[in-house]
């Protein structure tokens, strides 16, 4: 692993070649806002455009998405210039027009001084009213969970994650990873007693043998046992009581 030194906001910081600018910045405590990027999902990023920064290299400047821009020697990054703030404000204004109900987007937009969006307000339905269509949920489902139960359906303004035929999916294991990673809390999951409902499908939850709390869907246990060969008895207790 080749180490390189770059400059972020005037500070010299060290990163590994090809690591993302965003990762290096965060490791060094330099905040860059980002929605669609998750460090555990290698294919994530590049879609929400919130993490745009100025990249200066070879006497040229480009605006790049820091989440997927590789670190190279001689790179200088500026994360908080007037230009970055102006462009980011524009991005947030567009996002707010799409998901006026999302608290996350509303708060970020307010911080950047976005008032009422000038654009057509999207009247979404179902989970679309908070969804910015970044696709992180589908990437987690495919890459990390490995079941690929949901995909991005339709396109342009109708683009949103969903299960095949909008029916309960055979592939879904009810793990809730999509809910967990969603930057705008757009996916609904309900846990009531022994039942979890997500993506129109119901799962029976297994209760911890010590505390008695329902903590994992049986379908998820079956999936983990099948893919990792782990002993099913391991899941009789919740992580707190193992």
């Amino acid at each position: 692993m080749e180490k390189v030194t770059i400059i972020i906001d005037g500070r010299e910081v060290e990163g590994i070649k090809d690591q993302s600018v965003l990762d290096v910045a965060r490791e060094n405590g330099i905040p860059i806002p980002a929605l669609c990027y998750h460090p555990e999902v290698s294919t994530s990023g590049g879609s929400c455009r919130v993490c745009l920064v100025e990249a200066h290299q070879n006497e040229r400047m480009r605006l790049v998405t820091s989440c997927n821009y590789p670190v190279r020697a001689g790179l200088e990054i500026r994360t908080d210039t007037d230009l970055v703030r102006r462009i980011r404000k524009g991005v947030l204004e567009l996002l707010l027009a799409r998901v006026p109900d999302s608290e996350v987007i509303r708060d970020m937009a307010r911080d950047y001084g976005v008032g009422e969006p000038r654009f057509f307000k999207d009247e979404g339905e179902d989970n679309r009213y908070k969804c910015i269509a970044c696709g992180l949920c589908t990437l987690v489902c495919e890459e990390v969970v490995g079941v690929c139960a949901i995909s991005m359906l339709n396109r342009s303004r109708e683009k949103a994650p969903g299960t095949p035929y909008h029916k309960a999916s055979n592939a879904c294991i009810g793990c809730g990873a999509c809910v967990y990673v969603c930057p705008t809390s757009a996916i609904s999951m309900k846990d009531e007693g022994d039942t979890r409902t997500i993506w129109g499908k119901q799962f029976t939850m297994i209760r911890c043998s010590v505390c008695g709390n329902p903590y994992i869907p049986d379908a998820q246990v079956d999936w983990i046992v099948k893919t990792t060969g782990k002993d099913k008895a391991f899941f009789e207790k919740c992580p707190d009581h193992r």
């Binding site: 495919e142 690929c148 949901i150 995909s151 339709n154 095949p164 035929y165 999916s169 055979n170």
Partner: protein, 152 residues
């Protein structure tokens, strides 16, 4: 509409059993059944080892693929600028009135699916109606049913 699973298998067998064949097979489903049936996508997922959600996503992405049963004949009414100025709106209304169906829907007898489309690239013939692959130019509301009646 029942889908002939034998026909589904036959279409799949025309191609390499790999992910690259996906779109071509979906297009053949569309040609054969006039839509992409759920049974076809399920079978395809089993044969090609591609997650069903990816196949379905592809089906929702391309405009030429329909996930609902469609009419035997597709009637596209061009609503491009030239056709619009030459009265394409009245033609579309005439079709809707005569066939009792709204745009982007299929007649009850599954004979026609009516679509309003953007420019079909035949502005000199405006207003244009395209039935299946055939172009009809200089259309008038009074002539449209004579054209459509040719398609049984």
């Amino acid at each position: 509409m029942d889908v002939d699973i034998k026909k589904v298998n036959e279409i799949i067998s025309r191609y390499d059993q790999s992910e690259e064949s996906l779109l071509a097979i979906l297009q053949d489903f569309q040609r054969e059944f006039h839509y992409v049936p759920e049974e076809g996508m399920k079978r395809l997922s089993d044969v090609l080892y591609v997650p069903e959600s990816k196949i379905y996503a592809m089906g929702t992405f391309y405009k030429t693929l329909s996930l609902e049963p469609r009419g035997k004949h597709t009637v596209k009414v061009c609503m491009g600028t030239a056709c619009h100025l030459k009265g394409a709106g009245q033609i579309l209304e005439a079709i809707e009135r005569e066939l009792g169906v709204k745009r982007n829907h299929t007649t009850v007898d599954k004979r026609y699916t009516i679509e309003s489309v953007n420019c079909v690239g035949a502005c000199a013939m405006a207003p244009v109606v395209v039935v299946n692959e055939n172009y009809y130019g200089h259309m008038r509301p009074s002539k449209i049913m004579d054209v459509l009646n040719k398609y049984k």
